[in-house]
Symmetry: C2
Subunit: 380 residues, 2 copies
C-alpha cells in the first residue's frame, strides 16, 4: 500500500471515525483505525464492536485531488497515536507506505514516522446491512430528539435495557422514550417515510446516541437510518455510523401516564427553572436534592428547600393557570432541572394527582414532548 | 446588620475573594466569607490561613450608589453556597439582614433565603502589614513572570521549599526562580522602586502565585507589593491579596549555570516546538518522555523518539547557528515543551556541555529568561 493524501482530508476522517475506537482495547486491534486504499478512494474504519464508524475519502471530489494512490492495500494503525500526530504533521500532504509485516512509514515535510501496523484481516467485520428499508431525518431534528431524551436513560448497568433509548416508528410518527424508573422523557416527531415503513421497540444505547449526536450536523441535511434485527446504521454523507441494538424487553411505560389530573398548573418555564435552580443549590447540600412545591391560596406557588446546616431557600411564583385541588409535593430538583432545560416552550403544563403520584410535565406550545418525574415520599 | 446592595457589585466581590476560601475546610469558619458592613462600605474577606483575599465595596462610587447601609455589623456565610446563589438571584438588588445568633436573611425579588451565619469573631485575623516599603509592578508583567516560572516548581510536598518560587529584588531588578531539581526556569525584569528598596530569597507558593495570577488584570495597571518577614501583600485596586511566605532555605542555583558551552545552537522556536511535540507523542507511549537530539554533519539537527510497541518519530531541523562539538543528548520532552511554550522569542539559543551536563535554553531577543533542563543518561 502506498499513497499521498491531503493532511486535512485525512485528519477530518480520522477525527470522525476515532470516536468508535476503543480507548482501553481488550485486544490492540480494537484500539486501531483500519485504512483501506483502492484507486477509487480511502476508507477509514474504527470499531469497538458495539459502535463502528466508517468514513470514505474519494481520491477526487469537486475537481480537487484528495489523494494519489500508487498501490492499493490495507493496514490497521493505533487510533490514539494517529489521532494526535496527523493533525500536527508539518506539511499539507502526507505520504503513507506500508511494507512487510505491515511496517508503516508516514512522511510529511521534515517528519518521518515509522509505525508498527496491525493485520487488517484481524479487524472486526462490519455488519452487512440490507438497505431496502431506510428513512430520513433532518440532522438538527435527530440531534434535538437525542438531547431531549437521552439524559433520562439509566446509567446503571444493573438494568442494561434502561441504559438505552426506546425507538418506535409507525405511521410516520418517530418516537423516543427514555426512563431510569425515577423519571421518563419522551419525544416524538413526524417524519416522511415510504408507505408503511415501521419498526417497534428497538433500543439503542443512550451513550451511543450521544456519540452519534456529535457527528450529526446541526442543520437540515438528512441522515438516512436503516434498522435491522440487531443493528442500526446512520448514513451521514461520507460517514457511516453503525450501532448494535440493546437486547432485552423494554418495560411498557404507556400505562403509567395519567390522562386526568387533580391539580393542573401552567407556569413560565424560565421563571420556574431559575427558582428551582436556586432551591437546588440548597437541596444539594443535603445530597437528596429534595425540593418542595406547594400551591398557595392566592393562586401562587411556593418552591422551597432546606438544609439543617445551611438554612432554607423559599421562592414564590405566579401561576399562569391553576386548576383543581391544593397540593404539597416533593421531588428531586436535579431531575426537574434536567427536564426543564430541554423543554423548548415558553410556558409549561404540570399535572399532579396528589403527593404520591407521577408528576407530568409538558410544553404548552406543542404535544411532541412529555416528561414524568416520580415524587419523593416525605413527611410533613 | 442590615443593608441593600447591588447584586453585580456583591457578586464581583464574592467571586474575587472566594478563591481564598478553603474548599474542604478543617473547621467550617475557614470555608466562609466574612462580611463587614460599615456606613463607609462593605468588606468581604476569605482566608484559608495560607492565602487571604479581601475586597472592598464603597457604598458610593462615581456617583453611583452601590449599597444602602441601615445597620452596620458583621457575619460569616458559607462561601460554597454564597458563590453560587448570589449570581443567580432574580433582582438587581439584594437585601441582607442579620438577626440573633447570626441568623441571616437574604432577599432579592421573589427569593427569600435564610442562612445559618457564623460568628465573625472566630474568623482568622489578617496579618497586620506595615506599608512603609512597597513597590509596584504592572499587572501584565507580573502575570507573565508568574506564567514563565511557576510551571518549573516542584509539585512534591517532600521538598516543600521547592514548591515555591524564589523572589529577589535588588537595584531595581526583580527576579523569579523556580526549580524541581530536574529543570529550572528564571525570569527577571526591571522595576521602579524607591531608592535602595530590596529583599532577598523570599519564597512564595507556586500554587498561590497561579491563584494570584487569576485576579491580576492583564494590563498595565499597577499592582503594589509589600513584603514582610513572613507575609507578602498584593494590592490590586479594591482587592487585597495576602500570602504566607514559605519557610526554609532555597537551594543556591547560581552555581549550576554554566557560562561557556562546548556546543551552541540557535534554532527557530516554533519549528523546534512542533518537532519536539511530535516526538513527545511517541515518547509518551513509553511513559519516560525521552526524546533524543543529535547534531548532524550537514549542520542540521535530528530530533527522535521511539517506542518498542508503536514505532519511531524522526524530525529534521535546520540550525540557524551551530558552533562547537557534535552532540548526542537525551532529555524529557515534556520539560522541554513546558519551557518552549513560555519563551517569547522567535529564535532560541541552546547551550550544551556534553550529554551529561545541564542544557541551557535562552531567548535570543533578550536576556530576561533562562531555562535549564537536566539531560537523561541513556545508553547508545
Amino acid at each position: 500500500m502506498k499513497l499521498m493524501i491531503l493532511k486535512d482530508q485525512l485528519n477530518d476522517a480520522i477525527q470522525q471515525v476515532s470516536k468508535a475506537a476503543s480507548s482501553r482495547p481488550a485486544i490492540p486491534i480494537l484500539g486501531g483505525i483500519k485504512i483501506d486504499v483502492t484507486h477509487h478512494g480511502i476508507t477509514l474504519t474504527a470499531s469497538d464492536t458495539d459502535i463502528s464508524i466508517q468514513s470514505f475519502i474519494e481520491t477526487e471530489s469537486d475537481k480537487q485531488v484528495n489523494a494519489r494512490v500508487d498501490k492499493p492495500g490495507s493496514v490497521v494503525l493505533p487510533a490514539k497515536f494517529i489521532v494526535e500526530i496527523v493533525k500536527k504533521l508539518p506539511a499539507d500532504e502526507v505520504e503513507i507506505e506500508v511494507g512487510d509485516n505491515f511496517q508503516t512509514k508516514i512522511r510529511s515535510g521534515s517528519s518521518d514516522i515509522q509505525m508498527v501496523g496491525l493485520d487488517p484481516e484481524e479487524f472486526p467485520v462490519l455488519p452487512s446491512i440490507e438497505e431496502n428499508e431506510s428513512f430520513s431525518v433532518p440532522g438538527d431534528l435527530l440531534k434535538s430528539m437525542i438531547r431531549q431524551t437521552s439524559f433520562a436513560a439509566s446509567t446503571s448497568e444493573q438494568t442494561p435495557i434502561l441504559t438505552g433509548v426506546l425507538w418506535n416508528l409507525a405511521e410516520e410518527q418517530f418516537k423516543f422514550v427514555a426512563t431510569d424508573r425515577h423519571r421518563l422523557a419522551s419525544r416524538s416527531s413526524h417524519v416522511e417515510t415510504s408507505s408503511g415503513h415501521r419498526f417497534s421497540n428497538i433500543v439503542i444505547s443512550s451513550k451511543t446516541l450521544v456519540e452519534l449526536s456529535k457527528v450529526v450536523p446541526d442543520n437540515q441535511s438528512l441522515v438516512d437510518i436503516v434498522v435491522t434485527d440487531n443493528q442500526v446504521l446512520f448514513k451521514l454523507g461520507h460517514v457511516l455510523f453503525y450501532s448494535r441494538l440493546l437486547e432485552g424487553i423494554y418495560p411498557d411505560t404507556s400505562k403509567i401516564i395519567p390522562q386526568v389530573f387533580k391539580t393542573e398548573l401552567v407556569l413560565d418555564t424560565k421563571k420556574l427553572t431559575d427558582a428551582i435552580d436556586r432551591a437546588y443549590l440548597m437541596s444539594r447540600e443535603e445530597k437528596t436534592n429534595i425540593v418542595r412545591l406547594i400551591t398557595l391560596d392566592n393562586g401562587m406557588i411556593e418552591i422551597s428547600s432546606s438544609s439543617a446546616e445551611l438554612g432554607r431557600v423559599t421562592e414564590h411564583l405566579d401561576a399562569a393557570e391553576f386548576n383543581g385541588d391544593p397540593l404539597r409535593v416533593a421531588f428531586n430538583s436535579k431531575y426537574m432541572l434536567d427536564c426543564l432545560k430541554v423543554i423548548d416552550s415558553e410556558k409549561i403544563f404540570i399535572g399532579f394527582n396528589g403527593a404520591m403520584s407521577p408528576i407530568i410535565i409538558r410544553p404548552t406550545d406543542h404535544a411532541h414532548s412529555l416528561h414524568i418525574i416520580l415524587p419523593y415520599r416525605t413527611t410533613g
